[in-house]
């Protein structure tokens, strides 16, 4: 049913059941919100989205109030603005003042809203929140003194992931966001995906920073310094600085990192290629066994942990090939007392968690010494005064000097499927189509089909936990040859510690950068890389 309401003296057509806030966003009226996340249930916790109903003179939270026929709404009346100022002043009354040392700095939504409401001094002097921080997770740092209890992280964890590692505990003025028995994220069922970092409006949940640690080590270690950069990080930086060509940006970054003092700069591609090759071999063996089970291929540590703890019925289907960065770590640190300082740059905090897993350590020391995020890489560049496009260009070191474009394509949405099918076809018949045939392309679910030995196979690429939950039955009943799983909606480039950018088309642009690179490159499947050929021969010798 449709009817009209009045917003700021203008008539607006709305449909029944719409919330006021949704209407305002649709017609382009900006009002501040802190607790609202589009797509999740409204809670009305922050009350910043209040609007005035002119006929009854009352203030209502627009995020949770449905429209009613004949409503007369004012979004920026004096009464509303005063109410918002009081709310923000109250939120700030017990908020720490140390913004200068806060990781969020100018990206803090609370800070921006306070600024937009012209709040320049503290009006209410509340008892400062006691500083409690949860440092248990290797990737996620929770500083609860900065928490404003908006509950975004709680709803993300519950409604999107269905994990509820954190919840609102206690009551009244003792309310806090905590894990079970307040033991910390590491000891809860947290999968360290970092979605809470992405959605926290203040500096309460941030990534744990290792960049200063890296700088210290760079200056004091005698070891060979190796840095591995994921392709999504390169594409992200390339998009951020408007560099048109993927390889240009890659060579720029390599040059810059060399100037900073790294001995060897490589991309994650060789790891991705070995990962694809190993999985392809596994799937071909799977054919020989004539098994009807659907295999699960994922390089995402968060997804792996999620499957192991929440969907254990799927766990036996995992191909259990180590992730690309771990493959490279094993490659560079062949001996126990290796003389290598290994750093990995990714847009993902789950990799920080993965690096400290006991299976990825040697004598208790992680194989990857330091994992930093794309964000931290930018900080590193800022520390050394490096701007892009950088004057020095250099191609990556061995084994990355023979990278195929499959290694980069691997990290895009649906990339595991595409590169893996190429590799399967290449291993089988030495030829493959450049573009795969998509039969379904929904938001977070892509179905591909291809022919191998005159038989048609379907595979699926699933992104995000909600899409995965819908397809559990299909996977268990063996409808696909294999499925690709990743936790972030736009694959690895969408990691929670990517560069800050409000562009809604960001991921399309990033994917296009990599697709352009792939299109112009002839060396486009893992086995075409001489390094992978050498790796294969080496493997055969060992056997």
């Amino acid at each position: 049913m449709e009817f009209t309401i009045t917003i700021n003296n203008k008539k607006v057509k709305v449909s029944n059941n719409e919330k006021i806030l949704d209407v305002l966003r649709r017609i382009g009226i900006n009002i501040p919100t802190l607790c609202n996340v589009p797509g999740l249930s409204p809670t009305g916790a922050c009350r910043l989205c209040v609007v005035e109903l002119k006929d009854t003179n009352e203030l209502v939270p627009s995020c949770s109030t449905p429209v009613r026929e004949g409503m007369n709404i004012s979004t920026h009346s004096n009464k509303v603005i005063n109410a918002r100022r009081i709310i923000v002043n109250l939120l700030l009354s017990n908020h720490p003042d140390n913004c200068l040392y806060c990781d969020k700095r100018s990206n803090c939504e609370l800070h921006q809203i306070a600024e937009s409401l012209n709040i320049t001094e503290r009006s209410f002097h509340g008892e400062p929140k006691k500083s409690k921080s949860d440092r248990s997770s290797p990737g996620i740092l929770r500083e609860m003194s900065k928490c404003i209890l908006c509950g975004r992280c709680v709803r993300i964890c519950e409604e999107v992931l269905g994990i509820s590692s954190i919840d609102i505990v206690n009551r009244g003025k003792n309310i806090e966001i905590e894990t079970i028995f307040k033991k910390g994220l590491f000891y809860s069922n947290c999968i360290h995906c970092g979605l809470c970092i992405k959605y926290c409006p203040t500096g309460a949940i941030i990534e744990k920073s290792y960049v200063q640690n890296l700088i210290d080590k760079l200056n004091y270690t005698e070891k060979e310094k190796v840095i591995v950069i994921s392709n999504s990080t390169i594409a992200d930086i390339s998009n951020f600085y408007g560099i048109k060509k993927f390889t240009d940006c890659r060579n720029n970054i390599v040059g810059a990192l060399k100037d900073i003092g790294f001995d060897k700069v490589i991309t994650l591609s060789p790891g991705n290629e070995i990962f694809v090759y190993e999985n392809a071999v596994k799937i071909l063996n799977h054919f020989k066994d004539k098994s009807n089970k659907t295999l699960i291929v994922t390089d995402c540590p968060a997804t792996k942990k999620y499957i192991k703890s929440e969907l254990s019925e799927l766990a036996p289907l995992l191909t259990s090939i180590p992730s690309p960065q771990q493959i490279l770590a094993k490659f560079f640190k062949k001996s126990d007392d290796s003389n290598v300082l290994m750093t990995v740059v990714t847009p993902c905090v789950a990799n920080k968690y993965e690096a400290v897993q006991s299976s990825n350590t040697t004598k208790g020391v992680p194989d990857i010494d330091i994992v930093i995020s794309s964000n931290e890489l930018l900080k590193l560049f800022n520390t050394y005064g490096i701007e892009f496009p950088y004057s020095r260009k250099q191609i990556p070191d061995n084994p990355s000097n023979s990278d195929t474009s499959a290694g980069a394509l691997f990290e895009t949405k649906g990339g595991i499927s595409e590169t893996l099918i190429r590799e399967l076809l290449y291993l089988n018949q030495k030829s493959y189509p450049k573009k795969l045939f998509e039969i379904k392309n929904e938001k977070n679910f892509i179905e591909f089909t291809f022919e191998l030995n005159n038989q048609k196979y379907t595979i699926a690429s699933i992104h995000g936990i909600p899409a995965l939950k819908e397809k559990v039955e299909d996977i268990l009943s063996g409808n696909y040859l294999f499925v690709e799983l990743r936790l972030c909606e736009n694959a690895c480039a969408d990691g929670c510690v990517q560069l800050q950018d409000d562009d809604p088309d960001k991921f399309k642009k990033i994917k296009k950068l990599i697709l352009d690179y792939d299109e112009t490159n002839n060396s486009d499947t893992a086995s075409k890389n001489p390094f992978i050929k050498a790796y294969k021969n080496n493997n055969l010798k060992q056997k």
Binding site: E158, G162, I163, S164, I166, V169, R171, I180, F181, N189
Partner: protein, 147 residues
């Protein structure tokens, strides 16, 4: 605990959560980590969520309580009749603060807002026994009696 979980019906509805938590606490005194995790599998609510829900209610405990629960009243009437001195005295004698349990697992101190005996304040309650118009010397005797 296993026995308790076994006795639950095969399918438990989420709405029965509070009832189950109450029953468990009545039997074992507090809600422990293992129980919450086991219950979570059975009832289909994540452990973190169960903890969040339970922590809302002051009736649920997450630590073992002592044999004797000493309730000192901090309500208005008792406060006027200097219950604060009693609370301080109790802390001095036993070195226990609100919510703490002695190392030998005998005594737990819990402050409560009112025990319903304002006419005879200050009131002290030990398990189900009430002591009225308590003085410091009475308190010492009460503590000495907790064996």
């Amino acid at each position: 605990m296993e026995e308790f979980l076994k006795n639950l019906p095969a399918s438990v509805s989420k709405t029965e959560l509070l009832k189950i938590l109450q029953e468990f606490q009545d039997k074992y005194g507090y809600l422990d980590n293992d129980f919450i995790h086991e219950l979570s599998k059975k009832i289909g609510i994540q452990p973190g969520k169960i903890y969040g829900i339970a922590s809302f209610y002051s009736q649920f405990r997450f630590k073992p309580r002592g044999k004797y629960i000493v309730n000192l009243c901090s309500g208005v009437a008792c406060h006027i009749n200097s219950s604060e001195n009693l609370i301080n005295e109790f802390t001095k004698l036993t070195s226990l603060k609100d919510g703490e349990t002695s190392a030998d697992g005998k005594i737990t101190l819990e402050l409560v807002p009112c025990l319903g005996g304002c006419a005879n304040s200050p009131v002290v309650k030990v398990n189900d026994k009430y002591y009225t118009k308590v003085t410091k010397t009475d308190l010492l005797k009460i503590i000495q009696g907790l064996k």
